[in-house]
């Protein structure tokens, strides 16, 4: 059998499997996972638009007034300068460490672009927190965090788990794998065909999720700011995010395809891979390179912020390895994938079906 026949066989297997990967009932939750961040970002965009519209109608203050607000001002002074606030809420508070009841007040002001949250304590301005209603820079940071902490570590991870584990282990549980094994095709060809179908399905689903998420991020922000961003870094950043998504599917896909062949219970590899990927930040730099996440983070254009509330000790122990260049990351991940697929091909060559034990 020559190479072209084998390539054709890979294509046929991939095409047959692709329909199953895209349309089966089991893929439904993968779509949910991939689209969930986009739904949240769209929700945020709608929230920003609605608020901007409503608060603008309710009355805005001059930007200079917001800049002049200082701690220690009285409530009456603030109201005199700013006029009727958008929100004015008063309540009484008594904490365990405080002897007397304190009269608290929250006032919200809006200048058409920025919101200012004022907290009064016994009618004296205690804190002023002014921030833009939507900030592209801030949203980009949030997107970077969501992409690295949720999209890559959770969505792509579990999505690939569902898709790639289904390719062999699913067929064993459905008692249909023997049909494939009876086909006049080499086992390695079968493996590659199935891998290709899983890769195409997962990549398309998660790329769609990333693009929608990015679109929602831009929609929420000021058009002028967005235009400026589009003319400079947007294309490059989106490309890097999409590359990281596809590479995530390549890497995790190979790992879970091999896991589906090697072990009967996927919980063990899930826990091991999940544990390994979550502790890599604490490991020596050499060991960090033995994880899929290291290469994916190297491809990401914006480094994710450390989560708020992370204890100081944990921050100290976190020592992320210096990111490798994009080419090294791509080649490293492809190398890792080739190695895992080679190991899987050795296993698949000797695979024997005994449905009774599954």
């Amino acid at each position: 059998m020559n190479i072209s026949t084998e390539l054709r066989q890979i294509g046929v297997i991939a095409r047959l499997e692709l329909r199953r990967a895209f349309l089966s009932k089991r893929s439904f939750w993968v779509y949910l996972l991939a689209l969930f961040p986009a739904v949240i970002f769209f929700g945020h965009a709608i929230e920003v638009k609605v608020r901007q519209d409503r608060w603008s109608r309710e009355g805005t203050v001059q930007p200079a007034v917001l800049d002049r607000l200082n701690r220690g001002m009285t409530y009456n002074e603030v109201i005199k300068a700013a006029g009727t606030p958008i929100r004015d809420f008063e309540w009484e508070r008594r904490r365990r460490d405080e002897d007397d009841t304190v009269r608290m007040r929250h006032v919200l002001l809006f200048d058409g672009r920025r919101r200012s949250d004022l907290t009064f304590r016994n009618d004296l301005l205690e804190s002023v927190h002014t921030r833009p209603l939507a900030s592209l820079d801030e949203d980009r940071q949030v997107f970077a965090g969501v992409f690295q902490f949720f999209f890559l570590r959770v969505a792509v991870f579990f999505g690939c788990l569902g898709i790639f584990l289904n390719l062999f282990r699913g067929e064993m549980l459905d008692k249909t794998l023997h049909f494939w094994l009876l086909a006049p095709a080499r086992r390695e060809v079968l493996l590659l065909g199935k891998y290709l179908s899983g890769l195409v399905a997962s990549s398309l689903i998660f790329v769609l999720g990333t693009v929608l998420c990015f679109a929602a991020l831009l929609w929420a922000n000021d058009p002028v700011e967005v235009q400026q961003y589009m003319n400079t870094a947007a294309g490059h950043e989106l490309f890097r995010y999409l590359l990281a998504t596809v590479l995530g599917c390549v890497g995790y896909g190979s790992v879970f395809l091999a896991a589906g062949l090697l072990v009967r219970n996927p919980i063990v590899p899930i826990v091991i891979v999940l544990f390994w990927e979550s502790i890599i930040g604490f490991l020596p730099q050499m060991l960090q390179k033995l994880s899929v996440l290291y290469y994916l983070q190297s491809v990401c254009p914006v480094s994710a912020p450390v989560e708020e509330g992370t204890p100081a000790l944990v921050r100290l122990l976190l020592s992320p390895a210096a990111p490798s260049s994009v080419w090294v990351a791509v080649l490293g991940l492809l190398g890792l994938t080739a190695l895992v697929l080679y190991a899987a091909s050795r296993v698949v060559r000797k695979i024997e079906i005994d449905y009774a034990t599954d």
Binding site: I40, E47, V146, F149, V154, F158, R169, N265, I267
Partner: protein, 286 residues
Amino acid sequence: MAVYKRGYQRYQGPRTSHLSRIMVMPRFSWQRLMGMKITIVVLAVSMVWPLMCAAFIYVANHAELWQGMGGDMVRFLNINGRFFEVFMNTQAVFAMILAAVAGPGLIAPDLANNALPLYFSRPLTRGDYIISRLLVLLGMLSLVTMIPALLLFVMQVGLAGWGWLADHWIYAWGVFGGFALWIAIVSLVAMACSAYVKWRVIAGALVLAFFTILAGAASIMNAVFRVDWGRAVNPALAMNQIWRSMLDMEPLEGPGAWACSMVLVLMGLTLLAALTRKLRPVEVVK
């Protein structure tokens, strides 16, 4: 063909007690689970942290071992709510893994093999069936949660004296009640996954995915909307807030213990409804 004579009639003889009927399934399930290598491995690994905590309690109660080490050490070696909170957070993870290992095998095989009519043709109600399955998980999970926690508490009382007990009895209630709630949630998740996915192995993965994905979803909501109510959606964080309240600690930022309790109750009821919907003693022949 007309049926002239009924082949079956209701059993009229003496019955065993209700409790013993419920306990039949846990008895056999515990035996089977204890025969699984993976359960033993998870149980063994999950005992490491309680042993380390026991060593910590021993050192904390022997001042001569750390004399002259300064005020920071004195503050660190203090058996308080924070100590039990850290212990509970760690063991909760093991409870989750154990539920992912042990839980899916409870209901999925009964559904896949149409065994429910066999159970329900005996004097067992749907509620009894759910309780008996819950008892299996309660027994297994309490081995890594409640029992070690209470043993640690007893050890601390033994070393520190009755005076410590009088001042800190609330910790016993905190670890017992807190873990009971966590076990209830984890068990319901495991059973619902087991009922909805006929493959045992996939159901196990789904249990882990449930907690990981909800944690991620909560973080996304908090980050994107710049709020902190998303914490209530994360079962682990919501439970942590409840534990802090039960251990008489200052609450963390975000929704309070009552709000978190409400969310978890709602989550539990939804899981229970999903479970009872799936557990129907009928066999559909297509």
